[in-house]
């Protein structure tokens, strides 16, 4: 009952937080805008039209939607978690919550659960908008809104979505740890947002970094699960050989657990001295 009430309180805030609506709006605009640009490009010539034919009809349009989401999903998770946890520091509302409910891990836990639900809605809305805009674009270009249905496309997309889930969990926990350590949204978001590009650059500059840091292992997982051979070839080159997805998953799980434990322990032990 207590967890249910906490979840309801947290969900109430998540749903009404204008920052979350802004994030949803921005994501949907990026996706819709991208597909609209592909549609406009389709009028320029036969080459662009062929590209539009490949991208816009359903279910192919989901591929591009997921590619875009995959590029920003880590950052989305970081911003979502940093805003959810850091917002309480910024508003100084922890001092109103903790005396009412001293179970600090439960408070963070429901935040993550609520964030997960929020991100799920964001992804679902993005996929829906991507699908609709793609079909609309296809109709405008008179290429038919429905493409040839191939089960492997859906399988690949499900794999990509699962990989994205793992990535969001890992970076979300990094953001949690950084936000609790910095006790601010900006601090947490900065660490999270900077860690992604820095580690991405690092993994392509050093084989050691590629093997040790989570960035390429996440790509390796997504590559395997979605059956994306280009991604797999890129990973293989950077790792200096093939790395099984289970190994990458174990490494990512280790990172996620360490980030989560550090975040929870820090939050449990630290004073909220104001």
């Amino acid at each position: 009952m207590m967890v249910f009430n906490l979840l309801r309180a947290e969900w109430h805030k998540t749903l009404r937080n204008p920052a979350n609506w802004g994030l949803l709006g921005a994501t949907v605009c990026i996706l819709g805008g991208g597909l609209a640009l592909v549609t406009l490009a389709g009028f320029k010539g036969p080459e662009q039209l062929a590209r539009a034919q490949d991208v816009l009809p359903f279910p192919n349009n989901l591929r591009m939607t997921l590619q875009v989401l995959s590029a920003i999903s880590g950052m989305l998770a970081v911003i979502f978690v940093a805003n959810s946890v850091g917002g309480e520091y910024a508003r100084d509302t922890w001092k109103m919550i903790i005396p009412r409910n001293h179970r600090r891990p439960a408070l963070i836990g429901v935040k993550l659960l609520s964030g997960l639900a929020g991100i799920f809605i964001l992804l679902a809305a993005s996929v829906l908008v991507g699908g609709l805009v793609g079909m609309l674009g296809a109709a405008v270009l008179k290429i038919g809104p429905l493409g040839a249905f191939k089960p492997e496309i859906l399988k690949a997309q499900a794999g990509a979505l699962s990989g994205m889930g793992v990535e969001m969990l890992c970076y979300g926990m990094l953001a949690l740890m950084a936000t609790v350590a910095a006790r601010s949204t900006i601090g947490g978001a900065m660490v999270g947002v900077l860690a992604i590009p820095i580690s991405t650059v690092a993994v392509f500059s050093s084989q050691l970094a590629a093997n040790v840091l989570p960035a390429l292992h996440l790509n390796n997982i997504i590559g395997h699960w979605s059956g994306n051979n280009r991604t797999l070839a890129m990973c293989q080159a950077a790792f200096g050989g093939e790395v099984p997805p289970t190994t990458s998953l174990a490494i990512i799980a280790a990172y996620t657990i360490v980030f989560a434990v550090c975040g929870f322990v820090l939050f449990q032990r630290r004073d909220l001295a104001g």
Binding site: M1, M2, N5, L6, R8, A9, H12, K13, R16, N17, P18, R91, D92, T93, W94, K95, M96, I97, I98, P99, R100, N101, H102, R103, R269, D271, L272, A273, G274
Partner: protein, 320 residues
């Protein structure tokens, strides 16, 4: 802990690396009292309250609030206490009512709209409860904060500087709200550095400095201890002469009219008879009350000197 006590601390301490915020604090707060917790800025008042609320962990000692240990019995304690620490904090994108709903759920108290509406009415926010908190004035936020503290019908309420930032009308209103809370039999632990405020509403007081209790007692006892009287008579010179012959009164001529003496209350009838015999009319006599301000300054030392503005006369020239 005695059942008459709402709160008792046992050498409660908090050390931040090389800074001692609270040092072996020992307090006893009777049930149903309005307890003033006084001290200059940085005296450790807020840290102490934060320790009571589980926001800050003590590094030494402990405290019991309504029979619950602040470290071991936090779950039970959460149902019995409530607080406003400094300025109340809210989700400004939610309405006042939605904020109360959220905090009620955090307290595991899914209160209905009717109960929340009653609380809103109690603090005088009816009509504004559906407006976003970002549109509220500080006074309204303080009132919403009071409503939030009453959600769990607590036995002890901690108020940390509740009138900070309020205008005079808001301060008076807050004072009457606090009095109303206390009338319901709750214990109010009020931290403040506004001595006048504490003097007006508190029944007990403790003065802390550098994390240590310097004075602790009932306000009426602390303020009633004055043994200084001021007299206004028809002949100050003769009065002074008569009283000077009586050892212990130490009469001092303050100005052309007033004489100050040190006396016990039991000596006053004698004094009146003596002046009457000498045919000196006594126009006024009054006892100088101790004020919390004088006690506070005596215990904590005067505030650091501020350079005084140069006095100018009416022509704008520097006065002699």
């Amino acid at each position: 802990m005695s059942p008459e006590l709402a709160l008792k601390t046992y050498d409660l301490s908090k050390q931040y690396k090389d800074v001692t915020a609270v040092q072996r604090l020992n307090l006893e707060v009777p049930k149903g009292s309005v307890f003033g917790f006084l001290g200059p800025n940085g005296a450790g008042k807020t840290t102490t309250i934060r320790m009571f609320l589980g926001l800050v962990k003590p590094t030494g000692g402990t405290a019991e609030i309504v029979g619950c240990d602040i470290i071991r019995d936090r779950h039970r304690l959460a149902q019995k206490i409530s607080a406003i620490v400094e300025t109340p904090a809210f989700y400004d994108y939610l309405t006042g009512l939605q904020n109360l709903e959220v905090f009620a759920r955090f307290s595991n108290l899914p209160l209905g709209k009717k109960q929340l509406g009653e609380l809103i009415e109690q603090v005088g926010l009816t009509g504004r409860e559906k407006h976003k908190v970002k549109t509220y004035s500080l006074g309204m936020k303080q009132r919403l904060g009071i409503a939030a503290t009453l959600l769990n019908n607590p036995e002890v309420i901690f108020l940390d500087e509740p009138t900070n930032g309020l205008d005079p009308a808001g301060t008076v209103e807050m004072r009457s709200t606090i009095a109303g809370i206390a009338q319901a039999g709750r214990t109010v632990f009020l931290s403040s550095h506004l001595l006048n405020e504490v003097e007006q509403i508190c029944t007990e007081v403790a003065i802390v400095q550098k994390g240590e209790v310097k004075l602790h007692g009932k306000v009426q006892h602390l303020l009633a201890g004055g043994s200084t009287f001021r007299l206004k008579t028809s002949s100050p010179e003769r009065t002074l002469g008569i009283l000077s012959s009586h050892p212990g009164l130490s009469p001092v001529r303050e100005d052309a009219v007033w004489i100050r003496i040190q006396a016990e209350e039991t000596q006053i009838p004698w004094l009146i008879r003596t002046l009457q015999k000498a045919e000196i009319d006594l126009f006024q006599i009054h006892q100088e009350r101790n004020s919390l301000e004088s006690l506070f300054l005596e215990l904590t030392g005067p505030a650091p000197a501020v350079p005084q503005a140069t006095a100018l006369n009416h022509k704008g020239e520097q006065a002699a």
